[in-house]
Symmetry: C2
Subunit: 108 residues, 2 copies
């Protein structure tokens, strides 16, 4: 689910701001993993939605979660753990992860 | 300043997650305003940095601020207020703004 169409959750909720610069190594396997992770995240308890934009190898992805507990469950999902390891060894040159609590939300 | 090069601030700090779909109207004036707003934000007290990616008319921009007070000052900056009005009447088809407090941050 994309949070872009008049359907912001009611605060408070949590956001994981993930920014990355990919190495360009093995982009096919990266694409397969990214789709698989999105499918898994959607099935995870507490998942609220995602906003993501890429420009070449650079991306910003913000995923939204009900609470800290749902983020912790997602972080420790076994398939996601495997993807995190492969991300560091293969796909990503650099990334940042910021965990935040959304306190107010507006849209136009 | 881009927060992408091993220089994340020390939490807690605040993030403004701004996602937008532009209308495509008057993209020249949009580009001029966007540069001007970035310049003004950088000069604003409490500004910590920005991460932004666009894909055609879609963008995600996350700006980082020391605290709620610096966000309020930026929101009410007179040139920024003018840009906000013109944004609604001219440049943006849809946008979301989420104000969040960053509690943890990591990078690789």
């Amino acid at each position: 689910m994309l949070i872009n169409q008049n359907n912001l959750p009611e605060p408070p909720y949590c956001a994981v701001i993930f920014t990355s610069i990919r190495s360009g190594n093995d982009e096919n396997s990266y694409g397969f993993m990214a789709e698989e992770m999105e499918r898994l995240a959607e099935a995870q308890e507490g998942y609220l939605g995602i906003q993501s934009i890429s420009d070449g190898l650079k991306s910003i992805t913000v995923s939204y979660w009900k609470d800290e507990k749902s983020i912790a469950l997602w972080k420790n999902n076994s398939e996601h753990l495997t993807a995190q390891e492969k991300g560091q060894s293969l796909w990503y040159e650099h990334y940042t992860i910021q965990i935040a609590k959304v306190e107010r939300a507006y849209e136009f």
